[in-house]
Amino acid sequence: MDLRDSPAEAEFRTRLRAWIAANNPGLPVSSTDDEYWARQAEWHTALYDAGFFGLSWPSRFGGHDLPSVFDVILDDELAVAGAPPRPSLGYLVQGIARHASQSIQERFLPGLISGRERWCQGFSEPDAGSDLAALRTTATRDGDEFVINGHKIWTSYSDVADWCFLLARTDPSVAKHKGLSAFAVPMRQPGIEQRPLRMINGITTEFGQVLFDGARVPAENMIGEPGEGWRVAMTIVSHEREPGELGYVARYAKMVKDLEQTVRADPGAFGSEQREAVAWAYVQAEMLRLHVCRRLSERLERVDHGPGGSIDKLLMTWVEQAVGAAALAVAGPRAVIDTNDVGLKIYLYSRAQSVMGGTSQIQKNIIATRILGLPAA
């Protein structure tokens, strides 16, 4: 192993650092403020236009064909500067690149990567959470189109999305995993109703509910083959569970840095339990940084679409919740005196990490049966 920068990596780092210093938008932490989500699109296109996003993706889709470890440098530098993390959409890129036809890839990947077209992911439903394959939204063929009817929930960024990566039932006559197909559905059309969802920490612009009532999608927008939807969804969720794909290292590093600054500014005001909580959050965040570095190094050989994402998801969850616990500890009584306290908001949001993208219990089922080889329950 050698974790030093190669000359090319060092040059990239220097260039990136200078750019971030001049262009850091200084957004609040993503989990605490609607302002973050309101200005996230702007950050995405700025990062992309400067040549610092989509580093390892093919240049024909707007990427840079760089080795996977360049994303480690990007996360490092964003973290050092306390800048917002890179946009979390690599899992959609993986899903489209692995399953979609050449023409779909050419149509959609450039806009997804550049941020010119915004996407949301329509998988979960009120009665299909952990049991995703039980979903009931239907896509029914009607000439050259499919007609969509159903109710999606916990749909991140649905209110600003141009496109929805939708999973729907196209064949109700076969077993539940086999009757699903995936689509790129245009969001700006009649037949789609948006209902915002307020998180327990009060933010309203991250999650939404989407009601499809006769919405239409061209048949050519199917991603993968008819009935391939479950496999497409599994590719996507396995990568949605990877902090290396999400760029969350920089997110946690920024939160820990803020907590450390708070304590350092007045060390006498914080007791040993508060100090230990912050130090442990630092250890956890460092663990994730180094773990992502190892994972993205493994990608120098090949991209793994397997169950390993479940391991990374649990590790990431423990980091987020250690940071959340530290934020609550540092806030002290303020967390209950003021409902707008940032520490309170970070803490409350951290409880979602063990649910979103597949609960911790589902991850443990996957690890036990598919990695450790234990018999299915």
Binding site: M1, G268, L290, L315, Q361, K364, I371
Partner: protein, 347 residues
């Protein structure tokens, strides 16, 4: 930037794991098999592994912290009852002092087991503890003697017995009054910075040992959960058991990532940064190892609580490796000191 093993490191990992599995104890009764443990000790010596941190001729060690950690990991995985980290750390200390290797077979530690023991006169005045010296015959452990602004190496005599909780590595407690023997021909005094760097290697090697222990004991536990039947089915089919084992597997993956980094930082990062990397690794690995070993005892049920079941051999060894050079609590306190400032106003 590439966190993967080089081809040579991957080969060393394979060789070390194979040797440790072949010659390490499979059962608690095997620990009394002197012929086996002798063969293991000879194999480790013949492989040249105890010389990794000897002087390459230019003051630098023959091999990096990464290679030393790869072997520590492999030996931990098999709870191999052979001295490794002890003699390697002793040789590293001798190299830093410009002394010939071999006068000390290990290092004596202060009662907290965090720092090397320091002696001020012709004999020790407090209890000290020699850790992981080769057993089987009397030997010597290094101790530090203050001189000027630094330290000189000396030795204390250690007999072949062991008092420690770890059944696979020797820990000999020496009461006050142990006579101190001079070590000849040291070309330089050890500075505080030397000792900090040396302790960084200690953090990396104890972290690597914990990684190996966790991996070894989890493998046993998964095999047991597949084999052991209750209610007519393997206990590994119950989600309650599956989730314990899955959580342990994740902890090991995260711990491995930090421990690898710490072993690389020993020789490739500035001393302060390397020490911090070692502290992060040790804090994470010590907490993880405690959970993973306790999970292993739990999954083995009643059997796991008997002396004959080898699981407690892993747990006991993990307790020593956690404490040696400071446990998670100690590392967190040190990280707090450097990152958050002194608790009661700036020092």
């Amino acid at each position: 930037m590439d966190a993967r093993d080089t081809p040579e490191q991957a080969e060393l990992r394979r060789t070390a794991r194979q040797l440790a599995r072949e010659l390490g104890p499979r059962t608690v009764a095997d620990l009394d098999d002197r012929k086996r443990s002798q063969r293991l000790a000879e194999a480790v010596r013949d492989a040249g592994w105890l010389e990794l941190r000897h002087d390459a001729g230019d003051g630098a060690p023959l091999a990096s912290g990464v290679e030393a950690a790869i072997i520590a990991d492999a030996l931990g995985e098999a709870v191999a009852d052979v001295a490794f980290a002890g003699p390697v750390l002793a040789a590293d200390l001798a190299r830093r002092a410009g002394a010939r290797p071999g006068d000390g077979a290990g290092v004596a530690f202060a009662p907290d087991l965090i720092d090397a023991a320091v002696v001020f006169g012709p004999a020790t005045t407090t209890p000290i503890h020699a850790i992981d010296c080769a057993t089987g015959s009397p030997t010597q452990a290094y101790i530090l003697v203050p001189e000027g602004a630094g330290y000189r190496l000396a030795c204390v005599q250690v007999d072949a017995a062991s008092d420690g909780a770890d059944l696979t590595r020797m820990l000999r407690s020496l009461p006050a009054g142990a006579p101190v023997v001079a070590v000849p021909d040291q070309s330089r005094l050890l500075t505080r910075a030397d000792l900090d760097s040396w302790a960084t290697l200690g953090l990396a090697l104890t972290s690597a040992d914990l990684i190996g222990l966790m991996r070894g004991v989890l493998e046993l536990s998964v095999a047991y959960a597949k084999d052991r039947r209750q209610y007519g089915v393997a206990i590994g089919s119950f989600q309650a058991v599956q989730h314990l084992l899955a959580e342990a597997h994740c902890l090991i993956e995260g711990a491995f990532s930090v421990a690898l980094h710490a072993s690389w930082a020993v020789d490739d990062r500035a001393p302060d940064e390397a020490r911090a990397a070692g502290r992060v690794a040790k804090a994470y690995c010590a907490r993880a190892a405690r959970t993973v070993c306790e999970t292993a005892v739990q999954v083995h049920g009643g059997m796991g609580n008997t002396w004959e079941c080898i699981v407690h051999v892993y747990l006991r060894r993990a307790l020593l490796s956690s404490r040696w050079f400071g446990d998670d609590g100690e590392q967190l306190r040190q990280l707090e000191r450097t990152r958050l400032g002194a608790p009661h106003g700036p020092a």
